[in-house]
């Protein structure tokens, strides 16, 4: 009797307050996508258009947490993914969007929607459909537990591939210095 194929690993990915640059870098693993697809099936991801994350083995998240919706998505991922990975500088530190953290959110909204001439007549948007912004942009690990971090803006395709292939092979992911050296 032949060995049954090992069950495929379910992978979910999403972008919160990010620029999709990390996802682009992920796709840059190029021809390695084929062996990856033999071992992996995608759950919720910009690549699949599945709207909600189901039970998964691995979740990859780019971008920090800037609003209420980001919190819900992050919690959904944490509740469903056995292993959750923060992908890229924004997910790990807040990154570029966190530049707003030293500004007061109230003053920001006031300036953009009330006192700045171009948009002033619109008023501050208050449609319940719109997610409310948080006072600051937070890194993922300040909201939920994160298992692994892949640094870089964006992390190189090699670094992303190394972490995923380590996980598939059952190793604790390890990024040697050349993969996380940026100068």
């Amino acid at each position: 009797m032949s060995e049954p194929n090992p069950p495929r690993v379910r992978l979910a990915t999403t972008s919160l307050a990010g620029c999709f640059g990390c996802h682009m870098s992920f796709l840059d693993i190029d021809e390695k996508l084929f062996p990856l697809l033999e071992r992996v099936e995608f759950d919720r991801s910009p690549l699949t258009d599945i709207k909600n994350c189901g039970p998964c083995d691995v979740g990859l998240i780019e971008g920090g947490v800037c609003n209420a919706e980001n919190v819900h998505v992050l919690r959904e991922f944490r509740a469903n993914c056995k292993v959750l990975i923060a992908l890229g500088a924004c997910a790990i530190t807040g990154g570029l969007p966190a530049q707003r953290n030293h500004l007061d959110l109230g003053l920001c909204l006031q300036e953009v929607y009330l006192t700045e001439p171009s948009l002033a007549r619109g008023g501050i948007p208050n449609d319940p459909e719109l997610p409310l912004p948080l006072d600051k942009v937070y890194p993922l690990h300040e909201i939920v537990h994160i298992d692994y971090f892949i640094p870089g803006c964006p992390p190189s395709a090699e670094a992303i591939w190394k972490v995923l292939s380590d996980l598939l092979a059952g190793h604790t992911p390890y990024l040697a210095e050349p993969l996380i050296r940026y100068d």
Binding site: A68, R75, L109, P131, L132, P133, D135, H145
Partner: protein, 594 residues
């Protein structure tokens, strides 16, 4: 902009005293900054000019030391000592009270430049806390009456020089004397003994006595001296480390105020042993009140022919005052500071014995070590080594503070158990003792039979007692903040690691901690221990490591039950946006978790 005449006069007098050399930068900055003043951009530029050093370097030094200020401070600069023992003695309420009386806010200048109130690391008055510094002058035994008195003096704008002397009274309480503190030195007596020996024989006597450094690490003093004597160089230096910054330690304060002759005698015979004719004594800024007495001792000894270029042993001592930095107690940071730079520890090797002060062979020893060296010559190596244990000869001064009805200095032979010290201090009900300060070891009841010695519990001298009502978690949290504040910032593991440690314990303190944070603490402590550049970083995790091991329930009872929780209330983080949009619908709120 030219300096005003008063500032210029101070600068000129500082230059006369210290000379216009780049390695005098710190002492010059200290001298031009009035006790209540600050270093304005013009002053920094004038100093840079006079010493011919780049302005960036002057700014770098001015911003490194916490007692130098580049921002205006109040005419009265109040700094509350913020050691755990000050807090146990009620410093927080007194600080609140003073702020209320003066309409001040901690960390800000109030009353149109009248006063600024802030906190500073342990000022070494733990036996008579809570304590504060006003314009650099120490006041102990604070209580409500004293605080009211001080606020009246400030509001009446009475210059600190004219405040009642009893406010500034510092008492030295010696509870137990042994070989060292019983020794009554006839100035010069140890030098007379030394001169009958060759330098090599003198080092031999110190070796036979088994003397080890009293600053904490316990390095054999004779080996250090011999290495310095053997190192080639046109000049050698003897440095006395009187930085005593370890929270809970104040035994050097006693020696500096009551036994200055013994210290200088020890330094002089070290100079004789290694062939050094220059000595430097680095006094922590918090002990400024000891400077005049020390200068008088030096002057008296010069007059008596015991010190100076023409003395029988040609050797002189120069007094330097620090500027508020714990890391400067680390010997290579101390040398950097003596050379006028930021107190950033050097790479070792090379060690100070070959490349020390101004790159010359240098012996750096603790105050008590020099006293003990003089004692060895007076009492003899055999009498000295009769006290103590196999690897820790002689006696040790302990600074007993915290929950004891009899705080003060205790001199015990090495080998004394923690329990014996607690008995002597009337503190048998202690639940924990911090031996050697935050960089030392925290032990609990089960280990009170352990010995004070290099082979078991080494200590630079701190012995801080915590009674049955104390919350050991708060002790560890206070120490974590101490290290985060005092990290010199040179290396990332310590600069970032100490801040993260403080953040994580704060998160636990706020009730948001989970098992995740406990694991995080362990990981950070490992990184600090492995990755740091100097001893500060290596030991910064000790208080948490020790208390996690021995007082886990103090952490556990604060944990939130969740596997992980943010360090803040997420719903509150939406409040500004709710306010601005006027929304209050369900989607405008975040619950506790998914």
């Amino acid at each position: 902009m030219p300096l005003n005449t008063k500032t210029d006069a101070r600068l000129q007098s500082a230059l006369r005293q210290w000379g216009a050399h780049d390695h005098r930068l710190l002492q010059v900055l200290r001298a031009v900054q009035t006790p209540a003043g600050y270093l304005s951009a013009e002053v920094l530029a004038a100093v840079a000019d006079s010493l011919s050093v780049p302005l960036a370097q002057v700014r770098g030094v001015a911003s490194f030391y916490s007692f130098l200020s580049t921002e205006p401070v109040g005419d009265f600069r109040v700094q509350f000592s913020d050691s755990i023992t000050d807090r146990m003695d009620g410093s927080a309420a007194l600080l609140d009270k003073l702020c209320r009386l003066l309409w001040a806010e901690p960390g800000h200048v109030a009353g149109d430049g009248l006063v600024s109130v802030a906190t500073t690391s342990c000022t070494g008055l733990c036996d008579q806390g809570p304590a504060m510094l006003v314009n650099g002058r120490a006041i102990g035994r604070l209580n409500h009456a004293r605080i009211e008195r001080i606020s009246e003096l400030i509001l009446a704008r009475i210059p600190v020089d004219r405040w009642p002397a009893e406010l500034f009274e510092i008492v030295d309480i010696v509870r137990r004397r042994d070989l060292l503190l019983k020794c009554e030195l006839e100035p010069g007596a140890a030098l007379t003994v030394a001169r009958r020996l060759s330098p090599a024989e003198l080092i031999g006597v110190i070796a036979r006595a088994g003397l080890r450094g009293r600053g904490g690490a316990g390095f054999p003093s004779a080996s250090k001296w011999a290495a310095c004597a053997a190192a080639p160089g046109p000049e050698r230096y003897i440095v006395c480390n009187a930085d005593e910054g370890e929270p809970g330690t104040f035994k050097d304060r006693l020696l500096l105020s009551q036994h200055a002759d013994l210290i200088v005698e020890g330094m002089t015979l070290a100079g004789y042993a290694v062939g050094a004719s220059h000595g430097l004594l680095y006094l922590r800024a918090e002990y400024l009140f000891l400077r005049d007495g020390l200068e008088q001792t030096l002057a008296r000894r010069r007059q008596a022919g015991l010190l100076g270029a023409t003395a029988a042993i040609p050797f002189d001592v120069e007094l330097h005052v620090g500027a508020g930095s714990y890391v400067c107690g680390e010997e290579t940071a101390l040398l950097e500071s003596l050379e006028g730079r930021r107190g950033i520890p050097r790479n070792r090797p090379p060690y100070p014995v070959t490349h020390g002060y101004r790159d010359r062979p240098t012996v750096v020893d603790n105050v008590e070590t020099f006293c003990a060296a003089a004692l060895v010559l007076l009492a003899g190596a055999e009498a000295f080594r009769k006290r103590g244990t196999a690897q820790s000869q002689g006696t040790k001064l302990l600074s007993v503070a915290g929950d004891s009805p009899a705080r003060g200095i205790y001199e015990f032979p090495f080998g004394v158990t923690v329990r014996q010290v607690l008995q002597a201090a009337g503190a048998e009900d202690a639940i924990a003792v911090q031996v050697g300060g935050p960089s030392g070891t925290c032990i609990s009841v089960d280990e009170f039979d352990r010995q004070i010695s290099f082979e078991d519990l080494p200590t630079g001298g701190a012995f801080t007692i915590f009674g049955p009502t104390r919350d050991i978690f708060e002790v560890a949290r206070s120490y974590a903040h101490f290290f985060a504040h005092e990290s010199c910032g040179f290396c990332t593991p310590c600069r970032v690691g100490t801040s993260l440690l403080a953040r994580v314990v704060d998160k636990i303190h706020a009730g948001y901690g989970t098992r995740h944070e406990l694991a995080e603490l362990e990981q950070l402590i490992a990184v600090l221990g492995k990755g740091s550049h100097c001893g500060l970083g290596h030991s910064a995790g000790n208080p948490i490591r020790d208390t996690l091991l021995r007082f886990m329930p103090a952490y556990e009872r604060r944990l939130a039950s969740a596997d992980f929780a943010p360090a803040f209330n997420l719903d509150a983080a939406l409040a500004p946006a709710r306010r601005m949009t006027g929304r209050d619908d369900p989607a405008a709120h975040l619950g506790e978790g998914s």
